[in-house]
Symmetry: C2
Subunit: 210 residues, 2 copies
DNA sequence: ACTTTGAGTGTACGCATGTTCACTGATTTC
DNA sequence: GAAATCAGTGAACATGCGTACACTCAAAGT
C-alpha cells in the first residue's frame, strides 16, 4: 500500500483505509465475534501494517464504538425513510415486518454485529449498543404515538409497546442473521412470524386496557 | 494442591478439582465472556497448573459444553419442581414470573452464561445452547398444552406461544443478569414486566384466534 | 508388601499478540 | 521549488498463550 494504485488526495486515501479497517473488522467479527478479533488480524486483512492502525483508531475498543455508530446510522436512515412512506401510516405492522427483513438483508453484517456484540462484546461496546437501543425505543415510541389507533393511549403504554417491538426486532434480526444463505422460504417464514408477534402485541394491549 | 489439606478419595478429589475448574470458568466468563477466558487463566484461578486442566477436559470447547449442560440441568430441575406445584396450574403466568426471577437470582451465573454465550460464545457452545433452548420450548409446550384454558388450541399455536414465552424468558433473564446488585425494586419491576408480557401473549392469542 | 495407576507438577517450546520507535517518501503548504 | 506534514513502514520488545514431555508420589488394586 505504499503506492495506492490510483493516487487520490491524502484525505480521501486516509478515509479509504479507514473504511477498509472498519469493513475488515466487521467481516472478521462475523466469524468469531469482535472480541476475538485482534488488532493485527484487522490490520492484515485491511492490507496495512499493524502500526498504521493507530493512525485511525487509538484502540480496538474505539474501533468497536465506530462500528456501533456506523450500524445505527444505517438503521436510523432506514427508519427515517420508512416514516416518509404513507403506506406505513395505515399498516405499520406489515410495513415494519417488511422493513425489518429488507433492512437486515441489506446490511446483514451490521445487524449481526449489533445482535452479537449487544451481549457478547467488550464492556464499552455493550454499553454503547444498549444506549443506542434505548434511544431507538424512544424514537419509535414517538412514531407510534402519532398513529391513528394509538393516539389516545397513555405514554407509558406506548413506551412499553415500543420496547416490546424493539425487543422483537432484535430477536428477529438474530434469526435472519443466523439464517443460512439462499433460503428465501425461511426468510418469508421469519417475516410472517414477526408480523404475527407484532399483531399480538398490539391486539393484546388494546384488549386488556379496555 | 500437592497435598489437598484433608485428603479425600482419589475420585472425590478429582471431582472437586473438576468443579473448581467449572466454577472458575463460570466466574471468569462473567467479566469478559467465555471466549476471552484462556485455559491458563481458568487453571490458575482453580489453583491448578495448566497441564492438569487436560486431566478433566480435552479443550476449552469441551469445558464450555460442560457448562452448558450444567446450566440447563439446573434450569430443568426448577421447571420440574414447579410443575409439581398445584398453584402453578391455575396461575401459570404469575408462577412463571416468580420462578423466572427466583431461578435467575439463585443461579445467576448460569443464566448469565446462557444468555451471553447463546450469541457471543464459540460456535460449538452457541449450537449446544440453541439446541437446548429448542428442546426447552418443546417441553414447555407439553406443559402448556395440559392447562385448562389452552387444551383446545392447535398444537402449532401452543408451540408458538411456547416459543414466545422462552424468548421472553431469555430476554428477561438478560435483564436480571445485567441488573446491578442490591436493587430489589428493579427486580420487582422486571418481574412485573415479565408478567405483563406473558399476559399479553396469552390474551392476544386467545382474542385473535376467535 | 508390591505394583500399578493417574492427578497434579515443572520446564520448555514456538507462536501471536499489543505497543514502542525511528524511518520514508508522496502530498500538501507556503 | 523548498519545507512541513503525516499515512504507512519494518524491526524489535515483552508478554501470555496452548501444548508436549518427562516427572512425582499418594491412593487403589493386587
Amino acid at each position: 500500500m505504499t503506492e495506492p494504485a490510483q493516487s487520490a488526495s491524502r484525505q480521501a486515501q486516509k478515509e479509504r483505509t479507514r473504511q477498509a479497517i472498519l469493513a475488515s473488522a466487521l467481516e472478521l467479527s462475523h466469524e468469531k465475534g469482535f472480541a476475538q478479533v485482534s488488532l493485527r488480524q484487522v490490520s492484515r486483512h485491511a492490507g496495512v501494517v499493524p502500526t498504521a492502525f493507530y493512525r485511525h483508531f487509538e484502540s480496538m475498543d474505539q474501533l468497536g464504538l465506530a462500528l456501533v455508530e456506523q450500524s445505527f446510522s444505517t438503521l436510523r436512515r432506514m427508519i427515517r425513510d420508512a416514516q416518509r412512506d404513507p403506506h406505513v401510516f395505515d399498516n405499520i405492522i406489515d410495513a415494519a415486518a417488511d422493513v425489518l427483513v429488507e433492512a437486515v438483508k441489506q446490511s446483514k453484517a451490521h445487524f449481526a454485529f449489533v445482535a452479537r456484540e449487544r451481549v457478547g462484546g467488550p464492556e464499552v461496546v455493550r454499553t454503547a449498543i444498549r444506549h443506542e437501543l434505548d434511544l431507538f425505543v424512544s424514537e419509535l415510541a414517538v412514531v407510534l404515538a402519532r398513529l391513528p389507533n394509538i393516539e389516545n393511549w397513555s405514554t407509558e403504554d406506548v413506551q412499553m409497546v415500543s420496547r416490546l417491538f424493539v425487543r422483537n426486532m432484535v430477536s428477529n434480526a438474530e434469526e435472519v442473521v443466523e439464517m443460512p444463505d439462499g433460503r428465501p422460504d425461511l426468510e418469508e417464514q421469519i417475516k410472517e412470524g414477526a408480523r404475527r408477534q407484532m399483531r399480538l402485541i398490539v391486539v393484546g394491549f388494546r384488549d386488556w386496557r379496555s
